[in-house]
């Protein structure tokens, strides 16, 4: 590595040539605060919080975009620097709704932290302010521009990572605001509900639509039988809400907390993920053998599904007709479980805990009521963050909880299901089952390392029982978009594709705990969180979905054949092209 000699705060260091002042300082243990900077996608030097003094420079420079050079002398915390940062914060506060007492981001707001660090309050500049109507038109989130600091991190996530770009900066000067084209409401825009914008927002301007009040109401209703299903990746991230290290698997404590919140059944979306694999692998083998539409593309990620329906409607025939694990779980709860327990499905409330905001949209989709019209498969979908807040409010000391087990009725799952939460996981799980379905032989080595890892696009080829299969895995809609373009142009040929809307998959979903840019810019969240899931898979006795004993029992007693008529009615759905209005 080529290096240069620099001085930071009068101490000499050797740092990587070509790095920015921000990166160089971080590499030697000196943190420089930022607000707008997001590595690779939002390097715009706009917020002026990262300003530092460079000897010989005419004015303060922005550390996030200014490259180091040999002999450079940098001061990151002089009085001049601190005064500039303070003034910039005061100016930001002059148009910021300081609703900190009950703001959902209070205590993990990046603006609030900086104001505390720099002793800044909102009193100095109290002039004219623009006020904005809160946009709560979308099913999954709320935009409150009164708390927006115009850092454009959301715009960058939506455009650069997600290829969607439904939001942008409109107008100029004092009237500048972030929003959709022609001031459309988000609910009318082709937003795919992925929530990536929320996870990068430094303040409370973007938040999920909080559905915890509905959950509390259900839990307090003695007429209702309330069951809960946390998604695979939630166990890998929930600990972050309680200060545990990133990548801590808290499955046992999560189960204990859910039980203490008062759910009548504490079940596992992993169980449904095994059903998804059973159905999807069956569908894949059927399509391969019968000349069905290929590539088959997974349908677990509702953000991706909505993207397909909106931006690639001609690819809808390639989407697997399988419901996502969330919906399969709800469908099984309201049919199989209701029958088994002698419950009226109308009295069951199925709550899901998801890494995802698009799941809030998915529960309201058409053809998602296996038990009959007016009985949704899933009633309420909350994010990992919302569950964290519920546990907090309930006064449960999370870190001290014992490890408990899921309730057995719908709580048994395999390692294949656990890895659904990471990019490549669904593909690997499907391959474990599909290979055995095709060859009829036992697969000895269950790991498919080619499809693991956090790269945006992965490809692999396998020869299975005389078939040559090309598979592709992509996460982040920009990568999915690139793969689709290559498929449509004929440049690439795949038989099976796994798409997840969020970069890295569900572990980095839009409903996951927020991490400040100071962590996000220098930590591979995706890899750390995914490692927790692969660790759990490794430790499981049963690692192939079709070997799940509970799954075998439910097919034998209730569903019949995988891909059969009853399974189709309960576990599959359909899609519709969506108009792109804005």
């Amino acid at each position: 590595m080529e290096t240069v000699q620099i001085k930071i705060n009068n101490v000499s260091y050797e740092v990587a040539a070509g790095s920015t002042i921000l990166e160089a300082a971080h590499s030697v243990g000196v943190e420089i605060p930022t607000l707008c900077y997001l590595k690779e996608i939002n390097e715009i030097g706009a917020c002026r919080i990262c300003v530092v003094e460079v000897k010989g420079a005419r004015s303060l420079v922005t550390a996030c975009v200014y490259p180091v050079s040999d002999g450079m002398e940098i001061v990151t915390n002089s009085e001049k620097v601190q005064a500039a940062r303070r003034t910039n914060l005061e100016l930001l506060l002059s148009t910021h709704d300081q609703d900190c007492l009950s703001c959902v981001r209070s205590t993990d707001c990046e603006l609030q932290k900086l104001c505390r660090d720099y002793g800044v309050d909102g009193k100095r500049f109290s002039g004219a302010r623009e006020t904005y109507a809160v946009d709560d038109s979308a099913p999954h989130m709320i935009r409150d521009n009164n708390k927006c600091i115009l850092c454009r991190r959301c715009v960058a996530a939506c455009r650069a990572n997600q290829a969607v770009g439904v939001i942008g900066a409109s107008e100029r000067g004092f009237s500048t605001h972030i929003g959709c084209a022609f001031e459309a409401k988000l609910g009318d825009s082709p937003c795919v509900s992925c929530g990536q914008c929320i996870t990068v927002c430094p303040t409370g301007a973007l938040t999920e639509k909080d559905d915890t009040a509905k959950v509390w109401a259900a839990l307090n209703d003695p007429e209702k039988h309330v069951v809960v299903q946390p998604a695979p990746s939630v166990r890998a991230t929930l600990g972050e809400c309680f200060g545990l290290p990133i990548g801590t698997n808290v499955e046992g404590k999560m189960v204990a907390a859910l039980r203490r919140l008062g759910f009548d059944g504490v079940f596992d979306t992993d169980t449904a993920a095994d059903f998804t694999i059973m159905e999807e692998a069956t569908e894949f083998v059927h399509r391969v053998k019968n000349g069905g539409a290929l590539p088959l593309i997974t349908s677990c990620s509702p953000g991706w599904v909505k993207f397909c329906e909106t931006y690639y409607p001609d690819m809808i025939p390639n989407l697997s007709s399988c419901k996502s694990p969330q919906q399969m779980f709800g469908a099984l709860t309201k049919t199989y479980y209701a029958e088994k327990m002698g419950l009226d499905p109308r009295n069951i409330v199925c709550v899901s805990v998801m890494p995802c905001t698009a799941k809030k949209f998915e529960i309201g989709r058409e053809d998602m009521s296996a038990a009959g019209e007016g009985i949704p498969d899933v009633d309420i979908s909350i994010t990992t963050r919302e569950l964290g807040r519920m546990i907090e409010r309930a006064g449960i000391r999370f870190a001290e909880l014992p490890d408990e087990e899921f309730d057995p009725a719908l709580g048994e799952s395999t390692g294949a299901a656990t890895i659904f939460g990471a990019t490549g996981g669904v593909m690997e799980a499907a391959l474990r089952t599909a290979v055995e379905l095709v060859t009829g032989e036992t697969l000895e080595k269950v790991e498919f390392h080619e499809v693991r890892g956090t790269q945006g696009i992965k490809e692999a080829s396998y020869d299975v029982g005389g078939l040559h299969l090309n598979v592709c895995v992509a996460s982040g809609l920009t990568n999915c978009d690139a793969v689709l373009k290559a498929v449509q142009s004929g440049e690439k040929h795949y038989d099976f594709i796994e798409f997840m809307a969020c970069p890295g998959g569900c572990v980095n979903g839009g409903g996951q705990p927020t991490q400040p840019a100071s962590v996000r810019n220098f930590t591979d969240l995706k890899a750390l969180r995914a490692a927790a899931l692969y660790g759990e898979d490794d430790a499981k006795a049963v690692r192939k979905s079709h070997e799940n004993p509970l799954l075998k029992k439910v097919y034998a007693e209730y569903l019949g054949e995988p891909g059969g008529e009853k399974a189709h009615h309960i576990l599959h759905t359909r899609y519709t092209a969506r108009e792109k209005l804005y």
Partner: protein, 162 residues
Amino acid sequence: MRRFSTVPFSGTKEQEAELSAWLDAHKAMPGAAMPALQKAQEIYGYLPIEVQRMVADALDKPLAEIYGISTFYSQFSLCPKGEYKISVCLGTACYVKGSGKIYESLQEKLGISGGECTADGKFSLDACRCIGACGLAPVMTINDDVYGRLTGDELDDILAKY
């Protein structure tokens, strides 16, 4: 918050063909969005959603980005211009002589904000900076007619002429 034109879009096939031809020829050019919007405004006179959609699709950019550009630069208009374009000078001399009140009064009488066009397409209203007739302050123009030393009382009579 910006208000949008209530005048229905009435672009012609010829206009569409002209814009499409320009977009086809220039879509690979880096930074094509600005000149594309300039061209579109030259053809249509303004940039309604139908026109911005054409630009966005041709350049493979999100509509939100194109809209952002169209609202950043004051040279772009999202409303059509009327048959009669009223322009009120808000330059220093006119302003101290009360052109601000004239401008407000016209907005009230026409039922539109500055930058907009009446629903019947007859009048559009804009503010401008000094037109070099400070001796006549406050001044407004309607197409090529210049009205100077204005008082609020005359406005109804002037509008009635058109």
